[in-house]
């Protein structure tokens, strides 16, 4: 094995150790943190970040800015809850069926909508979300404005029902990791490349044989299914849902972690969620007593600061920062990019031979 290969292997190993360390910290948190409020903040981080990853597939990677993701989340929550309470299906099965239902609805609704581009698509996504919310408010079948409660009872993995926060913490973490891996896989696949070309220039994408409509529909269906999954998790955790969860402000909340963290990166929503959710909770807990509403104002100021000074998000800044150079060279011992590419090319050629 050459020196180069060894260096690349060492770099890969260091990266895995670092990521594994971060994961281990998150796995161990419930062992040390017993305060339910703090655990709740973590669970909130997990599902908000996951929802934001769903948004980012469409908004960040494909360039279709949706402002209706709370509706998909609500639809997933309602579909799963209806199956649990009315059809008495197993909650896990209901969650999966709910996801499929949301994917189908999103695909059917957005098939005609993708004739629209840019801001018009965004407007339609708002209208769709609001229409869905109004439909539920006015439908006796869906419990009108009073919502649906899920049954309480003994702790059970089979029924996805717990009195304590820890199990939700771990399920939320696993959900986040799985969705992250799926998004990472998509980013590196044919579909990921197609979505990026569509974001940059739809006509040019069509000119090189990519069918923009097909890939946009694929993106919207996957994105909506993940949002539906988050809805199922939310319903199982809170055990009560109402149409309020689909209001416009909630859709905006699904966008913020991605924008703050860096919408060009799959990791953006994770970083953004890790910062924005605790910030929002901290402000709510500590400032709303002083002057009601000031927490929202401070949150908005923090958001405006990011958009004004770091429009590419935190990761956009990080990817060109001295901090990254320091971490890469001193901690991960990353070899020069040419060396990595050389090793990669040699490996690929060996594989082909």
């Amino acid at each position: 094995m050459s020196v180069n290969e060894k260096a690349v292997r060492a770099y890969r190993r260091n990266t895995i150790i670092c990521l594994g360390g971060i994961l281990a910290v998150f796995l161990l948190i419930p062992a040390f943190v017993k305060n339910p409020y703090t655990l709740n903040v973590f669970i909130l981080i997990f599902y908000t970040s996951t929802l934001s990853m769903a948004w980012n597939l469409l908004g960040g990677m494909t360039g279709q800015n949706s402002l209706g993701h709370a509706a998909y989340m609500g639809l997933g929550a309602y579909a799963a809850s209806m199956l649990i309470t009315k059809a008495h299906l197993n909650p896990w099965l209901s969650g999966i069926l709910g996801m499929i239902a949301v994917g189908l609805v999103a695909g059917v609704i957005f098939y005609p909508c993708f004739i629209l581009k840019g801001p018009y698509f965004t407007l339609v996504s708002i209208a769709f979300g609001e229409a869905l919310r109004q439909f539920i408010i006015n439908s006796a079948f869906f419990g009108r404005a009073s919502g649906i409660g899920l049954p309480f009872g003994r702790d059970s993995w089979l029924d996805f029902r717990f009195g304590s926060k820890e199990p939700y913490y771990y399920v939320g973490l696993v959900m986040l990791l799985l969705v992250y891996l799926v998004m990472k896989k998509i980013e590196r696949s044919r579909m990921g490349y197609a979505l990026r070309t569509i974001r940059e220039d739809e006509d040019a994408a069509a000119a090189i044989g990519i069918n923009p409509m097909k890939y946009k529909i694929m993106a919207v269906v996957v994105s909506a299914m993940v949002a539906g999954l988050v809805g199922f998790f939310y319903a199982s955790y809170i055990r009560y849902i109402d149409p309020e969860m689909m209001i416009q402000a909630k859709s905006t909340e699904s966008v913020l972690p991605a924008v703050v963290g860096g919408a060009a990166f799959v990791e953006g929503p994770l970083v953004g969620g890790l910062i924005m959710v605790p910030l929002s909770e901290f402000l709510r807990a500590n400032f709303s007593k002083i002057l009601p509403g000031i927490n929202m104002l401070l949150y908005a100021v923090a958001l405006l600061a990011v958009i004004r000074f770091r429009p590419a998000g935190i990761l956009g800044w990080y990817s060109h920062s001295k901090l990254k150079t320091f971490i890469d060279t001193k901690i991960l011992k990353k070899p020069p990019i040419e060396v990595i590419e050389e090793v990669e090319l040699a490996r690929r050629q060996r594989k082909e031979a």
Binding site: R190, T197, N211
Partner: protein, 235 residues
């Protein structure tokens, strides 16, 4: 090779092209000329399947492509360099070229085609790792042409390559097109407003006015035509 007959196309209820007919033979450079709004780009889009023709035949090597998808048409070997360059500015030069090999056949031959493209445009190899948006206008147009070459065209459509470029760069690009037609027997459909340059490079030409073919003939005959002289060359 390409035989377009009585092609009609438009957007929604508005018809743009009225019974357009033209032919391109193997290894031939055919210029489609006309002023702004004459229907040139709509014609390109109708041939490549990006606009569905409402009537007519687009025959390519004996097969009618008029109702086929743009993906299918591309796979048959009709590759276009769209108007206004349309490269992916945030991707690197190399990634842009890779995107030119999106279907399976072209991907298998990618490395070989990449070498050929780099030989034709050595500047692109120097800048392979650079974001395409940082290239000059001429280099971007070269990249757009190179991306089309990676798609192994039998018929290459150049939609207004001269748009916004310095005259000597336009000459370079037309030189490459002429070269491909002569040496590799690739047919070229050159859609242009700059009639002098287009006719200097093409074998034959068609003039489109108001969505109809107004004139056709060899490049020499069109250059000498009184109407062309008056309306387009200003002499």
């Amino acid at each position: 090779m390409l035989n377009v007959k009585d092609l009609r196309a438009g957007y929604g209820a508005i018809n743009i092209l009225w019974d357009i007919s033209f032919q391109v033979a193997e290894g031939e450079i055919v210029a489609i000329l006309g002023s702004n709004g004459a229907g040139k780009t709509t014609m390109v889009r109708a041939v490549t399947g990006m606009v569905r023709p409402s009537a007519g035949v687009v025959q390519f090597n004996g097969e009618d492509l008029a109702k086929k998808s743009s993906r299918y048409i591309l796979d048959q070997g009709i590759v276009q360099v769209p108007e206004g360059r349309q490269i992916f500015t945030e991707m690197t030069v190399l990634e842009n070229l890779e995107m030119g090999a999106f279907n399976k056949e072209t991907r298998a031959a990618f490395q070989e085609n990449l070498r050929t493209a780099y030989q034709r445009f050595p500047r692109l190899e120097e800048r392979a790792k650079q974001a395409a948006g940082t290239l000059s206008g001429g280099e971007q147009q070269m990249l757009a042409v190179a991306r089309a070459l990676i798609g192994m065209p039998k018929l290459l459509i150049l939609d207004e390559p001269s748009l916004g470029l310095a005259p000597n760069i336009v000459d370079d690009i037309l030189q490459v097109a002429a070269d491909m037609a002569r040496r590799d027997r690739i047919s070229v459909l050159l859609v242009e407003q700059d009639i002098t340059k287009a006719l200097a490079c093409a074998d034959r030409g068609y003039v489109i006015e108001n969505g109809r073919i107004a004139l056709e003939g060899t490049a020499a005959a069109l250059s000498a035509n009184e109407h062309v002289k008056k309306a387009y060359l200003g002499i």
